[in-house]
Amino acid sequence: MSLEIKVQEREPGVYLITPVGEINTDTALDFEKTSREFLPKAKAFVFDLERMTYISSMGLSSFFRIKQSIEEKGGTILLVHVSAQVQKVFDVVKIFSEAMMASLEQADEHLDSFLDDVQKGKIEPKSSSA
């Protein structure tokens, strides 16, 4: 039930984070801590979940808090390659449905548009109570 976390900066401030294994009661806080290390410079987190085999509600809460934190500084998160079983868990918090992308290419297109809107001042940071 171990978890390995791979992080790649694809372009300045855009991090591809690939959890390999399970995000459960044992590993959720480590996953969140590792992701947060990149938060100060982050404009976007893209989570590739192809090799994440399991998630519990503890993991879901970690994703939720990461989403809140990056949105408070005007960034965004995207989830790609979400399996049907894992998606069922994410569906509990429906606000993730807009973050789900079928592929990295689709995520890139979405991010290009998002970052363009940020530059033009069309997107404001979200407050935590929003």
Binding site: N24, D26, S61, V89, V92
Partner: protein
């Protein structure tokens, strides 16, 4: 039929090793991947709820677990030593106004993934039943 009965002290680090033990047992019944995922997740949610919300992570308090596995179903009973709870008082975790509240997601997931869910003893215990399919 195979059975496991165990009394776990309320420490979260006890959850993963116990689930591993259950998964070893379930392997003998050749359950589908989907059923295994659902049983594993519901068991983790019920155990962590019992330890965190029921026993308040007091290691002197215990969570009793009884599992029965046969060819058709898995029956899991989890009971804590806390004050009990009323499921009806939990908000819908999919509702927008509750989306930022951490509680209730595990209980909701169990309802989604199990075929039968029944709380007993004032909410100190939960009985979960999963009707299972064999691997294709």
């Amino acid at each position: 039929m195979k059975m496991i009965a165990q009394r776990l002290p309320s420490k979260l680090e006890n959850v993963a090793p116990f689930i591993r033990e259950v998964l070893v047992l379930m392997k003998k019944f050749h359950l589908s991947e989907e059923d295994t995922f659902h049983i594993k997740l519901s068991l983790e949610e019920a155990l962590t709820n019992a330890m965190r919300h029921g026993n308040k992570l007091d290691p002197s308090l215990f969570v009793d677990v009884n599992l029965e596995v046969d060819e058709q179903k898995v029956v899991m009973k989890i009971r804590d030593q806390g004050d009990g709870f009323d499921e009806a008082r939990l908000g819908d975790p999919t509702a927008l106004e509750n989306s930022q509240k951490p509680g209730g997601r595990g209980v909701f997931l169990i309802r989604q993934l199990m075929n039968e869910v029944e709380y007993f003893d004032g909410g100190r215990g939960v009985k979960m039943v999963k009707l299972t399919a064999r691997k294709a």
